[in-house]
Amino acid sequence: MTRIYSSVILLKLFWKGRFNRMKLGTTKWQRNLFIATFILPTFLFFCVFTIYPVAQAMYYSLFDWSGSSDNKKFIGLDNFKEMIHDPIVWNAMGNDYFLVIGKIIGIMILATFFAIALTRFRFKLSNFFRSIFFIPNVISVVVIGVLWNFIYNPQIGFLNSFLSLFTKDKVDITWLGFTNHTIWMLLPPAIWAGIGFYMILLIAAIQSIPESYYEASGLEGAGQWTQFRYITLPLIWEQMKVSILNIMMTTLNGSFVIVLIMTNGGPDNSTQVMGSYLYQMAFSQYHFGYGAAIGVLILIASLITTVIMQKLMHQETIEVS
């Protein structure tokens, strides 16, 4: 049956060759038309809704502009000069990198731990845990933010009610109200929400390691820790690098949504990150030029950080191997 089928295909291929040679002119024209109709609409759409806005953002960053067309004033790089003297920008940037570092440490440790526990340890319920741990990744950041706001709620929240079990008086700490440390409070939800994704990435990496490596080292008496340190870790390091870069980029680009939902940058701008400051400047204070300039700053920051981190982690790879 298969043989008949394949010989039909061969025959058809043969005929196609002759057919193509005969009608090459029209076929080529038809082919180009086909390519154009399949490439151009998408490209046009992409230009209008992605490339044009990105280019436009850089252009806007050179203006002092409140949104209406009559008072759009070209000011060159003044927005960027103003940013240097704006303490909130520096604070926001500090918060961004605080979240980047905190998330990298928290997520990588826990995700690696879970990935190893759910593969090398062969627990019976491994698959069940894996599905459960991924759930926060399919839930909207808005929902996650609201849930954690409730945990932190000073009067009726989980955290204070729980702490009150151990104290005489009712605990009423406003967890999101400190000017100095509130940014710390945003770390647990961010880590909680991020782990499943990176756990899945690392599980895939661990499962691609040949079982024979572990068997051979086991015969020579290597314990679980030695195997982790000298087999698993070096062999999943590539994937860990990808994960670390990915955490960095998604945090710089997207952590502001949870900030907007949980603290809106407050109290007193202390939890502002670059994205939330951009949002506030542009859409509540109507400094669109300044907002666009913050956007450009985010772009530059994430590009530079990517390059630096790639360099740093490249060196470490050599050390490991």
Binding site: P53, R122, E215, G275, G295
Partner: protein, 281 residues
């Protein structure tokens, strides 16, 4: 060594940590349901983890659905999510097919352009997008939101689908073309049905992203008639300062989460593999 680790104490500790984390993930979902059935009095009088009093206040659900317009938000979310996913899938699949099968001068540069656009922080485009849509009279409209969402899906879709089309055997297309099928016929009748698994993976990841999307929705829409669910929830939470109704808020959260959890139960494999496909470059 097939048995994995031998030391039972370490094994128990590891197991305990897994169980604790599992509870930390599942428990919030459980109390979202329990708290959705309480009234304000129960929130202030009792512990947040206490069970709701009888009769259970299922009316909180009908209340947010009509009083807080979650019915409208739900419809908007469904329309925008499905519309943009279908449009985005079509735009991505058509280009991905040509890039995979009919390379032309500059096609690899085009592919690179799409892929590298995934590196650009989206916050950069927010301000110009608002003014662009405003000038097209497409702010405060589900249609405008659908278009923008569809555009955000293109790069990822192309990235995954080019690989998928390349993995399909060429013989079928060749056979179809000898049978006289046109280029379009081959794409729609042969390739699209064959690439269903790839399309489903990309489609599901897109549905997930759009259903949960907040920031574009809140920038492009400020008329409650066109809110999507995440925007509606954020607005409801903001109102809580003046009008505390915790039970209904949790009911609203649940209305947002449940459809996505149901989808997750059915398409777990595709979601995990699709979501991670974008990160492995």
């Amino acid at each position: 060594m097939k048995s994995g680790i031998s030391n039972p104490i370490i094994k128990i500790i590891f197991y305990a940590i897994l169980v604790i984390w599992g509870i930390s993930v599942l428990y919030p979902l459980l109390w979202t349901l329990l708290d959705a059935l309480k009234n304000n009095d129960q929130f202030f009088r009792k512990m947040p983890w206490s069970l709701p009093d009888f009769p259970l206040l299922w009316s909180n659900f009908t209340y947010v659905w009509s009083e807080f317009s979650f019915g409208t938000y739900f419809t908007n979310s469904v329309v925008v999510t499905l519309g943009s996913t279908l449009l985005g899938l079509f735009l991505a699949a058509s280009t991905a097919y040509v890039l995979a099968r009919y390379p032309f001068k500059g096609s690899s540069a085009l592919f690179l352009l799409y892929i590298s656009s995934m590196m650009i922080p989206f916050s950069l485009a927010l301000i110009p997008l608002f003014f662009l849509l405003n000038s097209m009279h497409l702010t405060n409209s589900s249609f405008g939101l659908t278009l923008v969402y569809a555009s955000t899906l293109i790069a990822f879709g192309i990235f995954v689908l080019v690989g998928f089309f390349k993995s399909l055997p060429k013989e079928l297309e060749e056979a179809a073309s000898i049978d006289g099928a046109s280029y379009y016929g081959i794409f729609f009748r042969v390739m699209l049905p064959l690439s269903q698994p790839g399309l489903i993976t990309v489609g599901i990841v897109n549905v997930l992203n759009i259903w949960n999307e907040y920031i574009i929705g809140t920038i492009l829409v400020n008329d409650p008639v066109h809110y999507t669910l995440p925007v509606g929830i954020a607005m409801m939470q903001a109102q809580m300062q003046y009008r505390t109704e915790w039970g209904p808020l949790f009911a609203g959260l649940l209305i947002t989460i449940v459809p996505i959890l149901v989808m997750y139960m059915f398409f777990q494999k595709q979601i995990a593999s699709g979501i991670t496909a974008g990160a492995v470059k």
